[in-house]
């Protein structure tokens, strides 16, 4: 197993989930993740793999970087294999779709740095990795995360409340 394959198998799922949550589109997320692994190939050594991968992926999203099509093809094949092994998510119900839409809105309402820190934390990155990927001081990650979580939950609950009021209004 080559080094990039090991990286891919270790981090792809988390990276794709992180990017999907960030971008709201699974295909786009997979593209960016693949591009991230292509970039990893060019590196002679990476100190903290996970922090590096998440940082690069984040920058790729930001820069809309160009893609190396030839190398991505091999990775697309790997992604296909992984997808086949995965269990298909159950059918999206209306309720779930509404929840997803509200979650999307609440996440989009966060400041970029807060949002990225939170999404990285959800993928298991520790405070040092988050600090490295986002070029923050390790001491400020706790504050960033606490702010991100509070705002996310509060805006989600506000959306939920206004939706319930709308439904009540519609019913009466």
């Amino acid at each position: 197993m080559t080094d990039v394959e090991r990286l891919f198998r270790t981090y792809n799922a988390a990276l794709v989930r992180y990017l999907t949550r960030r971008l709201g589109d699974r295909d786009w997320a997979e593209e960016v993740a693949q591009e991230t692994f292509v970039r990893a190939l060019r590196q002679t050594s990476i100190q903290n793999e996970r922090a590096w991968l998440f940082a690069v992926a984040t920058n790729l999203v930001r820069d809309e970087a160009r893609k190396d099509i030839r190398r991505r093809k091999h990775l697309a094949l790997l992604a296909e294999q992984e997808r086949e092994a995965m269990v298909e998510p159950e059918e999206t119900t209306l309720e779930r779709a509404q929840e997803a839409a509200m979650a999307r809105k609440a996440v989009d309402a966060l400041a970029e740095r807060d949002r990225l820190a939170l999404l990285m934390r959800e993928e298991g990155l520790d405070y040092n990795e988050i600090a490295e990927a986002l070029e923050l001081s390790p001491g400020s990650v706790g504050t960033t995360l606490s702010r991100a979580r509070r705002r996310l939950v509060e805006s989600y609950e506000a959306l939920q409340k206004s939706r319930e009021e709308r439904e009540k209004h519609a019913a009466s």
Binding site: D27, A103, R104, G142, S146, R149, V153
Partner: protein
């Protein structure tokens, strides 16, 4: 020790503090109720934000923003709408025809038909079938009861002597455009007379029921009289009934129908439905009785005696004072498609007829459509 700040609490809960720091925080939290509450709140935020983010994981592939899936309307809605329409159309028939005298109609028909080589009756089946089969009587068979089969003897003979080609369903060559008679001035004037008749009838009905004229002996006789009149009206119009060629666009509360006037020549009728079932039913009942009671003597004359245009003209002149409530509005556009709008006097629906025709032609088509609809609704009613 100071109270813990939120960032420290989250760091502690995330396991990001050093062993020393973690021990200090733990010791403080044990003793400080305020910080215990803050920790509980932070745990809540951590759990809730994880849950919220999980909702994003079923993100669809290849999302293009702004393309929501097309909403499909429940077929039941169409059924209800169609039912309302048929009830409304049935109401129209009652008001239009119930006052007409059977004898007058059947006497007039043969004269007209033999003298003027009228159009085939058969296409009328075509128009009545989709309207009735659409909803109300899917299990009944309205086709067998189409107006022609119950109409007066003359009309029936006429049907049976038609060449079979005329019966072909959807036969495109049923009515070549050249054979369609031009609308004469007389005819359009007669149309104006009819409209005013309807107006007077309604205003009379609305104010006080007219004195009782001899009503039909039975329901059956009344129905026969109606269908005979429908047939007579078509015969008198000297044009084939219109064929419905499609229902191109659909929207709630609105029905759009394409009629083929001649091969390759279609007009579009848009009806803004009043979807208030109660109102429609009530209207039907309250209008049916007084209308049957009479007040339509002038209508009978004007409509059936198409040959005696002089009489009609005097009628029309006499009725000039009638309120112009149902006089259609006409809109001309540079692209050649003209639109006639009016309010259906019976249902109150807003009607719009568009096509590449002159105003006279559109008004004639309007009358033909109304007749076809009346006939269709009539046959549905009787098949029940």
């Amino acid at each position: 020790m100071q109270h813990l700040d939120e960032g420290t609490i989250h760091s502690w809960l995330d396991g990001a503090l050093s062993a020393d720091e973690a021990a200090r925080v733990e010791a403080h939290v044990k003793e400080c109720a305020q910080c215990q509450a803050a920790v509980a709140e932070a745990r809540g935020f951590i759990a809730a934000s994880s849950r919220i983010l999980t909702a994003l994981d079923n993100a669809p592939r290849g999302v293009i923003p702004g393309t929501a899936p097309k909403r499909r309307i429940d077929p039941m809605v169409w059924r209800i709408a169609a039912t309302v329409l048929v009830v409304a159309a049935g109401t129209l028939v009652v008001v239009r025809n119930s006052g007409l005298n059977l004898q007058t109609a059947s006497k007039e028909v043969p004269v007209l038909t033999s003298a003027q080589a009228p159009a085939p009756m058969a296409p009328q089946r075509d128009t009545s079938t989709p309207a009735s089969a659409g909803s109300v009587s899917s299990e009944k068979a309205p086709v067998a009861n189409s107006p022609a089969s119950v109409s007066s003897g003359a009309a029936r003979d006429q049907v049976s002597s038609r060449p079979p080609a005329a019966f072909r369903l959807g036969g495109g060559a049923a009515a070549p455009r050249e054979s369609r008679p031009k609308v004469s001035a007389d005819e359009s004037q007669r149309a104006a007379g009819e409209r005013r008749d309807l107006t007077t009838l309604e205003s009379r009905v609305g104010v006080a029921p007219a004195p009782a004229l001899p009503a039909p002996q039975s329901r059956f006789e009344a129905a026969q009289g109606r269908s005979a009149n429908v047939a007579a009206m078509d015969a008198a119009a000297e044009v084939p009934a219109l064929k419905i060629v499609g229902v191109p666009r659909r929207a709630i509360g609105q029905k759009t129908t394409s009629y083929e006037v001649a091969p390759g020549d279609t007009v579009v009728l848009t009806e803004v439905l009043k979807v208030e079932l109660n109102a429609v039913v009530t209207t039907g009942m309250s209008l049916a009785q007084p209308a049957a009671a009479g007040a339509v003597k002038t209508r009978a004359t004007a409509k059936a005696a198409a040959a005696a245009t002089d009489t009609v003209r005097t009628e029309a002149a006499r009725l000039d004072a009638a309120p112009p409530a149902v006089v259609p509005a006409f809109v001309e556009t540079p692209n050649g498609i003209n639109t006639l709008t009016w309010t259906d006097s019976t249902t109150g629906s807003g009607m719009k007829l568009s096509g590449r025709h002159s105003r006279e032609e559109l008004e004639e088509i309007k009358r033909r459509i109304e007749r076809a609809r009346a006939a269709a609704a009539d046959s549905v009613k009787r098949s029940r």
